[in-house]
Symmetry: C2
Subunit: 247 residues, 2 copies
Amino acid sequence: MQHPVRNFNPHLSVDCVVFGFDGEQLKVLLIERPGSVQKSDRNKRYKLPGDLIFKMENLESAAQRVLHQLTGLENIFLRQFSVFGKPDRIPEGDDLNWLEHSTGVDINRVVTTAYYSLIRIDKSKTAKELLHNASWHNVNALPALAFDHNSIIEKGLECLRMAIRFEPICFELLPGRFTVRQIQILYEVILGQQLDNRNFRKKLLKACYIEKLDEKQSGVAHKPANYYKFNKKKYIESRKDLLYYNF
Amino acid sequence: MQHPVRNFNPHLSVDCVVFGFDGEQLKVLLIERPGSVQKSDRNKRYKLPGDLIFKMENLESAAQRVLHQLTGLENIFLRQFSVFGKPDRIPEGDDLNWLEHSTGVDINRVVTTAYYSLIRIDKSKTAKELLHNASWHNVNALPALAFDHNSIIEKGLECLRMAIRFEPICFELLPGRFTVRQIQILYEVILGQQLDNRNFRKKLLKACYIEKLDEKQSGVAHKPANYYKFNKKKYIESRKDLLYYNF
DNA sequence: ATTCTTTGCGTATTTTTTACGCTAAGTTTG
DNA sequence: CAAACTTAGCGTAAAAAATACGCAAAGAAT
């Protein structure tokens, strides 16, 4: 990823917290920094996928570019959730050295715009990910990361948690067809709380944009579940005049 | 506001969408740009309060600084809601000229971090605001603003609207003591919808952090209403274990 | 054949929301 | 000074949603 230096804006970057769901746990995609990392950094060899942006590039385009290079996917679900711009967020020393060395620019401070991204783990091209030393990590058991990337993930998770309470964006994490249980586990993992399966089912299926398919699971060691799919069009329509507030 | 140029980071700014509530309408605080604005800009002479940030300054501190200078208030309620960083967001021509002239720096692109801020209109020092050519404008009838500031306000309003659905931050817009009706009107203005006064009251007063005071209105042409206050401590406590999700 | 797990339908109870009716307490009007 | 007007604030009845469970059914595993 050594681009011609003159095209980069050395002050601006994007970082992506890429969430994935393997059916059991919520995962985050991390990059292992190559090469010149010294001893003191041994326990910080992972970082978020991200990059400086080109001089004439949109922030969101930069995020899409990073993710496309990493996973091969296009039009990934992305949501900007915060900016991290403390003057000292890239501490002097190894991290700064590494960054200056790999970009070839003197850096005063880098402000990074953070996005979270939801992808279907099975869709992303594992080969590509491996090419970039990327790997999936359980969001509840992350290593110490470079820069302030642990804080970024934490905040991203908080925003995701907030978001799924009011819009069913978690379908972005599931395959096109899914069972009720799959969604329930996903909700349980993100919210960090067990839910009653019968009540969850009732609540979910009341939504007009969850459509029952004519397909069933097979090969599972219990009664096979029906598959459903998410109808985005109906969802958007149903939100047209939603009023709601709480104290 | 002509600071010594060398202390500024010419690539980074903050802009604040300052909301206020006058009892009837939601207002936004706008600055009238002084001096050298040419004819073609006549209809864009207003902008959001904002500034470039100092080289070693935190983003949020910069926002607080801008608002302190403007209103005289400290510890203002601030929430970062978005970054605006399109390469062309400050169009060439008059706007860029104005900015380059007033900062004395060649600017490639300025990424601005946008905050919305909630203040009690009566608390802000009107004299200071006038000193900075600031004035309150009805959020539903804004003039054409400089740069992309109209979009910034629009997005800020959207975020505020989203936020008040789940946390009662709108108390930041009201005086320390208030009547049920005042809050209701505020909700109606922000949500853009009329609400039934009896049901609104029930819903509001069920919240344990709304405390009835021993004071009543006087001098109104109808039955005087009781005053209430918002107990922040109780609010925070009550949120400790709130689980909630919707489809 | 028995056990085990999850599915998926159902029921009963409580809580919340919604849609109103109506009296009370003040000011303003005539 | 009484009547009109306005918002406050309590209440009720019906509908909808949330909660807490029971339980039979469909498969795989033993």
